[in-house]
Amino acid sequence: MVCTLILALALPLQLSVDAGLFPDVLNPYYLHLLTIIGMNIILVASLNLLNGYLGEFALGHAGFMAVGAYTAALLATKALPSAAALPPVLGTCIILVVTLGGAMLMAAGIGYLIGLVTFKTVGDYLAIITLGFNMIIVNAIQNLDFVGGPRGFTGIPKNTNFLAVAVCALLTLGLLRNLIQSSFGRVWVSIRENAIAAELMGVSIAKAKNWAFTIAAAFAGLAGGLWAQNQQFITPRSFDYIKTTEILVMLYLGGMASLSGSILGVVAYTLLMELLRNLLSAFAPQLAEWRMLISPLILIVIMLTRQTGLLGNREWRWLRPRQGA
């Protein structure tokens, strides 16, 4: 229901901004903000699968995002014709499906491999190892000349717009919700609650974890693919540990094991940052950069005061299972 509503709003919104209608209210800046929010929702919700539901502590999400972004960028520039050569709307759709599909597959593959080799590690060491893989991925891209190395990848066509991001974000939320409210989701949560008991109920922990890693990585790759075709310019550094931390901040702000929380966390964080930026640049331009101190402070304050985040373990009704019969 809500999904249909959002889509019903997103389409005219995109069209009217493209057409330059109501330039005062619906300017591209707001649409840009919404686009960023949409991509961040994909990232945060998929990380929630690992850190919130599965109860692991993965710190390498930006690495999967990088894999997706570079895969999509390569596909869009080297493998596919430009959108201009194809019929207008359909062409962009095909390009998006191919690039994003490729991004998801590639990221899922890497996520699967990482899940495979880390099956024995838990807790602190899994955190280290995933962060280590994040850094290795960034380091590897820096050493690949054909994607621009440390200078970055330029000239990516802008195939993404708000509408595409909105569709992807809703799809992500819907699929994640479905999975979480299935036998697979119950198994993931049971591992979080008591891994030994889950194992002695016949759960192959390695297998269940690897599925979760693969799925989370695929969605991070999707966000990366959208990101690359929205920013049109990506560098390895934009996917390093700072990005992972930003995702974590939004995740913990919203709350663990709650998709509603992920949405709320992203929206609250993004709006807060923009608000601070506008306020500071209006009243104290020399302090505009100081908002960079706010985001880590938010994280610390959440941890000290409300460790479950805004909506930990709770869901809005449209994301809850229908309690049948």
């Binding site: 699929l175 479905n178 036998s183 198994v187 949560v189 609650e193 002695l200 192959s204």
Partner: protein, 256 residues
């Protein structure tokens, strides 16, 4: 299909926790293991369920050797257990604790769950119905929406037993189910175990510290002390065995 254990042995460092343990648990048998604290009782369970790999010895479930298999494979082969310190999925609902236990029989693929196919809805409805029926048998149906961790202690014990049974085991291992219970709860527990033994076609192996529970329930008991079986037989005979009395009097708590 019972459990047959021969010469099961495990050492940690220099300490032999279980030394040459043997067991012949028949099809629908109900046996007990007793012994003072630290005698190696829980280690026997940990070896049977694959938490630790045995140094020596064989464990057979029916005709199938299961020693050396990973825990989850042993569980799927048909051995379920409860824990001395209750290990429920505390933040999940009572219902989900049971439905989760049916995961091996979910009957749909990952993609079917993701896209909510017709088969998914059918199977999920079946799982839900089975779980509710199961909960009703254990008198927990009206608690189904509550989180497992919020139940009173006695009901947590009951839920843990219900969850273990939901996996459809052939052998059920109960690790000190009466620990921390008052006499009235113990009486209820004894009835519950008798009911389970009657209604489900399975074998039960019980570790217990409180002798009355074992006396009332078990056909045969083994007494472990320092990892070794010092006596076995019918409970009434075993408690008169001087070795057993000495092992129990060795600690503060005399047999009740």
């Amino acid at each position: 299909m019972g459990l047959r254990i021969t010469d099961l042995t495990k050492s940690f460092g220099g300490l032999t926790a279980v030394d040459g343990f043997n067991l012949e648990l028949g099809d629908r048998d109900l046996q007990g293991i007793i012994g003072p604290n630290g005698a190696g009782k829980t280690t026997v369970f940990n070896l049977i369920t694959g938490v630790y790999a045995p140094d020596r010895g064989q464990i057979q479930l029916g005709e199938r050797p299961v020693s050396g298999l990973p825990s989850d494979a042993i569980a799927r082969a048909g051995i379920a257990r409860t824990f001395q310190n209750i290990r429920l999925f505390a933040q999940m609902t009572v219902l989900d604790n049971i439905t989760m236990a049916l995961h091996a029989r979910a009957g749909y693929w990952l993609w079917e769950a993701a896209f909510r196919t017709g088969n998914f809805h059918r199977q999920e409805a079946r799982l839900l119905a089975e779980s509710r029926e199961h909960l009703a048998r254990f008198g927990l149906l009206d608690r189904q929406r509550e989180s497992a961790g919020s139940l009173p202690y006695g009901e947590q014990r009951r839920l843990e037993i219900a969850r273990a049974l939901a996996t459809g085991p052939k052998v059920l291992l109960l690790d000190e189910p009466a620990a921390g219970m008052n006499p009235r709860e113990v009486e209820e527990l004894i009835q519950l175990i008798q009911q389970v033994h009657r209604d489900f076609s399975l074998a039960i192996l019980l570790i217990e510290h409180q002798l009355p529970v074992v006396m009332e329930l078990c056909r045969e008991v083994q007494v472990l002390d320092f990892g070794q079986t010092i006596a076995s037989g019918a409970p009434q005979e075993v408690v008169r065995n001087p070795l057993v009395i000495e092992a129990y009097l060795g600690e503060e708590e005399a047999p009740a």
